[in-house]
């Protein structure tokens, strides 16, 4: 008798908890209010999908695809700014010649690396979900990559840091799941320089070698 009462109470408690859970879940679903896209958001919407389309274009040969992606990426980003950022404290002591050689090597390296990253998402759709300002001339545009093959999987969060300068926008960094590529490269390169007496020429040579290996 007592046993069955216990069982019933337990069942009741469980079903109550279950509905409570559902209730909370539904409450958690309240969607963010829709608002008009900011210019930076519009810029990302218009341009980033274009890059994925290039990478997804089966008509192009490997070389054509690389060339198109390179043009596209260099038009979209402020690669010189990114390159100098990744040098960290070593930028201040570098000579103009060193900086120029490094900038060229970094450009080649970055195009190759970024292409390999974005090729992974080439079949996916990018959706801008919002943005927030970062200082007076920069903002972060938040997007998700939706895989049509796995519509229910947790979408990958890819954010773009956008700089507004001279009436146009440039991408100066992007992050995947919260990890900013430019920050990661800066850690990598400054650590390398730290171990090699700040020798930027050596870093330049290593980047050139890397870019050839990855291609």
């Amino acid at each position: 008798m007592r046993d069955s009462f216990l069982k019933q109470s337990l069942a009741k408690a469980l079903s109550f908890a279950f509905f409570l859970g559902l209730l909370f879940a539904v409450a958690g679903l309240s969607a963010a209010p829709a608002s008009a896209a900011t210019p930076a958001e519009q810029f990302v919407t218009d341009n980033v999908q274009q890059g994925l389309t290039i990478l997804n274009n089966a008509q192009l040969s490997k070389e054509q695809r690389r060339a198109q992606f390179r043009d596209y990426l260099l038009g979209l980003t402020d690669i010189k700014r990114i390159a100098e950022y990744t040098l960290g404290q070593y930028r201040r002591t570098a000579s103009p010649d060193e900086l120029a050689a490094y900038g060229a090597a970094f450009k080649d390296y970055a195009v190759t690396v970024y292409q390999s990253y974005f090729t992974k998402y080439s079949g996916q759709t990018l959706q801008v979900t919002g943005s927030y300002p970062l200082g007076s001339d920069e903002s972060v545009v938040k997007t998700v990559m939706i895989d049509p093959k796995k519509p229910n999987a947790k979408p990958l969060q890819v954010n773009f840091r956008v700089l507004s300068q001279g009436g146009r926008f440039y991408v100066i960094d992007f992050s995947v799941e919260g990890v900013w590529i430019r920050e990661m490269e800066r850690s990598d390169f400054t650590s390398y320089l730290g171990q090699n007496n700040g020798n930027i020429a050596l870093l330049t040579a290593s980047l050139k070698k890397k870019a050839t290996q990855i291609k």
Partner: protein, 274 residues
């Protein structure tokens, strides 16, 4: 060698749950002894880190990166890389090659579901009732309709997933992360993450279910968790290693940024990194 496989590269989860090789004090038996043992292990590890700090003089770069034990960390990192290439990587590759993706996804979902009670407890401790509700809702739906968590029906119903651990709770409470630590077998960590691992282990309700041979449940689950995590990151980590000049520094940045994002729950970064 099995214990190595079990605990390698676990960036979360308690220290050496297998309790075999690292159980310095011996098993006291029963579930109640775990918390104390874990705390003791954390204490020993912190002491070990302090001893290491005494015999190394950090350079400026190491201090800039909040990594005063960089030299020692790098040695441990190398050790971990070697162990990974000998044991975990081959196993992971076989797992990816022979187990169909659908089955791997099911295993991943079930593991995520098992972790939800800990996330729920941490949601509450972080005073996030909405997220706690989402976690509870997910657990209810996936445990029942999702057949013990094998299918993620809650995501289909639109309840987003997230993870919380006690280290994140400590961060929300204002505890700093402390210096970067590379743990043998367990991978990147920090004093705060180590304390968090122990607390999350103690918070896990399955620890208190009295079954025979409980250790096998813990070891088996941990084994599959590590396998799942490594399998899901295999390609990404390979690419990052291929692209980097100093993989140690790159992975340190990766770990820190990822943890920071988890603590912020995806909200904007307060600081301007420039």
């Amino acid at each position: 060698m099995k214990h190595i496989n079990i605990s390698l590269y676990a960036s979360e989860g308690p220290l050496c749950k297998t309790g075999k090789k690292w159980d310095l004090r011996g098993s006291r038996g029963g579930a109640g002894g775990f918390g104390g043992r874990v705390m003791r292990k954390v204490g020993i590890a912190v002491l070990a880190a302090l001893c290491l700090s005494a015999c190394s003089t950090p350079n400026r770069n190491a201090l800039d990166n909040n990594d005063p034990y960089e030299a020692a960390n790098r040695s441990v990192f190398e050790l971990n890389q070697t162990i990974d290439s000998l044991t975990l990587r081959p196993t992971t590759e076989r797992y990816n090659n022979y187990v169909p993706e659908g089955v791997r996804d099911g295993i991943h979902n079930a593991l995520e579901n098992l972790a939800l009670p800990v996330t729920f407890a941490n949601d509450l401790m972080q005073a996030e009732p909405k997220r706690a509700g989402q976690t509870l809702g997910r657990f209810m739906m996936n445990s029942s309709f999702g057949i013990a968590g094998l299918f993620d029906v809650a995501s289909r119903a639109g309840i987003p997933e997230h993870k919380e651990d006690f280290s994140q709770t400590l961060a929300v409470w204002g505890v700093g992360e402390g210096p970067y630590l590379m743990l043998p077998f367990l991978g990147p960590s920090s004093p705060r993450d180590m304390v968090g691992m122990g607390a999350d282990f103690a918070l896990d309700p399955t620890l208190y279910i009295r079954i025979k041979q409980h250790i096998w449940w813990i070891a088996g689950r941990e084994y599959v968790t590590i396998l799942d995590r490594r399998a899901r990151n295999l390609e990404t980590l390979d690419d990052i290693e291929r692209d980097s000049l100093d993989f140690y520094a790159t992975s340190r940045s990766l770990y820190r940024q990822y943890r920071a994002k988890e603590i912020r729950n995806g909200s904007p970064r307060p600081e301007n990194p420039n």
